[in-house]
Symmetry: C2
Subunit: 445 residues, 2 copies
Amino acid sequence: MPTQTPQNYIVVGAGLGGAVMANYLAQAGHTVEVYEKRPDLRQADISAGRSINLALSVRGIHALKEIGVIDEVMKEAVPMPGRMMHGVDGELTYQPYGNKGEAIHSVSRGGLNCILLDAVEKHENVTTFFEHRCLDVDMDAPSATFESADGSTVTATGDAIIGTDGAFSAVRARMQRMERFNYSQDYLAHGYKELTIPPADGGGYRMEKNALHIWPRESFMTIALPNADGSYTVTCFWPYDGPYGFNRLKTDDDIEAFFNKWFPDAVPLMPDLLNDYKTNPVGSLVTVRCGPWNYRDKVALLGDAAHAIVPFYGQGMNCAFEDCTALNEALNRHPRDRAAAFESYYQARKENADAIADLAIQNFIEMRDKVADPAFLRKKKRQKLLRKLLPNWYIPPYEMVSFTRIPYAETIRRAMEQDRTIARVKYGAIAALLLIAAGTAWALS
Amino acid sequence: MPTQTPQNYIVVGAGLGGAVMANYLAQAGHTVEVYEKRPDLRQADISAGRSINLALSVRGIHALKEIGVIDEVMKEAVPMPGRMMHGVDGELTYQPYGNKGEAIHSVSRGGLNCILLDAVEKHENVTTFFEHRCLDVDMDAPSATFESADGSTVTATGDAIIGTDGAFSAVRARMQRMERFNYSQDYLAHGYKELTIPPADGGGYRMEKNALHIWPRESFMTIALPNADGSYTVTCFWPYDGPYGFNRLKTDDDIEAFFNKWFPDAVPLMPDLLNDYKTNPVGSLVTVRCGPWNYRDKVALLGDAAHAIVPFYGQGMNCAFEDCTALNEALNRHPRDRAAAFESYYQARKENADAIADLAIQNFIEMRDKVADPAFLRKKKRQKLLRKLLPNWYIPPYEMVSFTRIPYAETIRRAMEQDRTIARVKYGAIAALLLIAAGTAWALS
């Protein structure tokens, strides 16, 4: 592997993306200071909170392998080899995501972050600072100023700053004041609210453990991902307004009636439903796009700070980890030219981030609406058959995204090419049959 | 006409859109306070400055008729019934925009704004304040705070605020802090720089007066619009970077060599070329989209503040004036429910603003690249022929946008429908010919 010239990096944000990037940078021999707004979650009392989980798939797994934490992460992960659809009548339909042995993995956001931070701190060349809120960035120095827990102000100066401070990034906010910075934020008409299905009395799971559960209801849906302790984190993706909207449910009766009507089989699994529903907030779902992601060799953005996406393809974390892999590779390719590394990282990743942002929005429609449609299920079966018959040529789009590291934008191009070829073969076959029929008719006439 | 209930409106921005809206509101009987950041351009010395001009077409003309200023505006307007393309070899190609009698009109931005402000101040129920910069907006009051020329702070409170303060709107900036506000800003890789072709010695025009002149050079272009005084305002739309970029031209020799190579017939028309080029700034070209455009019955945005677009369809001003017409109509339809009026104005205009933003970007490619292509010119001729043969059914897209008030989004849908029908007729005719040929062959066999 080429050797990166050791430098001083300031990483703003110690969430999942920041912690992975700090590991990559420390591994490459750089001196790294990591600043995080929140308290150290390894010391905070998180047991009382809800357990938020995420779907880890191949792109994320690859990064976790490269920084040497995958074995520990997988110990607590729950494999989800398919989707389990719940009809309004309680009927269950199971659909595998990929081939035998392929699965996405439900992991705890907090648990994973702890593992990543422990790994970061094993490197002697890393220092972590918690409860340091980024106030401003001097892009040219480059330096970042933080307010610490005691109210004092700290300025950190280095060779480069990595902004990995999430969808509402302070580093990006500073970059937005640059000339000709492209930026967009788009909110869905839907929000999300998290609920909990606790473990069964006496332990174990109250539903199929190894599946991502979906209650598709066309214009809205609820999903559940298993946790290692036997519980599920349930997420309602409903519109804010209208007949199926959060804002319509004002009384306990409203809430209970709505769940009984639309999710009757889930109600008995959630003894704290009413309290959870009324206590937990409704979060918004935003897609953020921007560009450029770097300022010369001084500042680079990654993860949600560069491209917040909606959660419906389970790729937000995986995409952020793939950013880290890509940035590390770019620094390896340009070991003595960080400007070139940042620039080529941005150029290579931008179209892929845009692609997964689009795919994630499209997949919301697929999850909430189409998965309940028999025609769609038949199409998925045809896709599986094609993959079995032509494994070297055909990969269904979902599997390209979740089970390969084919760049996101390339998965879209390849899916379109596959569809075009199938259409050509289909119409070619029909034409050939017609010709044969006409020839036969002529010969018999 | 229905009667709007008189109210107190605060209009932020007295540019073209603000002045037209203030006229509409005053006409409907409202009390209007208009606040403008810049000095009153009727008193400022603008003779030394460049004369910036704009293309006025049917949508804008309609609004100017409704507020009763069209005759005065048309006195100084220069009709442009077509495009004049300038080849690198100096060859001229003329292409009419529409049918006989149809033209877009070159008008002076400053001159038009003066006419509109004079008209505003003829209304007793309007007060104008210049050199009042908007600092903040209280969305709920609603009220707006301004810093006046002497540094003092003034707060204006009314029933509703109209934000018409341009692409970098202060009113919109305040709305961006609302929950779930959608926003995007996208810059082109091209910028623009304005130059001047002065009147001929002894008066008159140095080129064809009645045309919009284009020097299309595929990836970049220069254009010129005539002014009433015999001069032309020239605008270079070039990339910032690359072989045809502003940033590459560093010395006088660079500038002269570039113009001599790419715009040789324009060079002798611009005696002050070098000085103009070096003195005038490069402006950026941004598309801004956002939503919603209103906050309850308190605040509404219009014009560039709601949807800044690039200038290549000549519709920025026309679209802003059409916003004013639409908002006035919505207030007429809901004379006692301003919230409903604002909401229906936004719902009706949003898709049209998005459509013209897309069309304007597409038209840049058409203007700089395709207008020099013989196949494109033949296509335009076929469109004109179709319009003559089927005037009630076929209208070329450019003409729908410039010479009708068909909503922008509808022009796109209608153009697609026209194309589909033409394709169907074409392939239907081919199939019929083949059938006839086959039938004849069979009959003869």
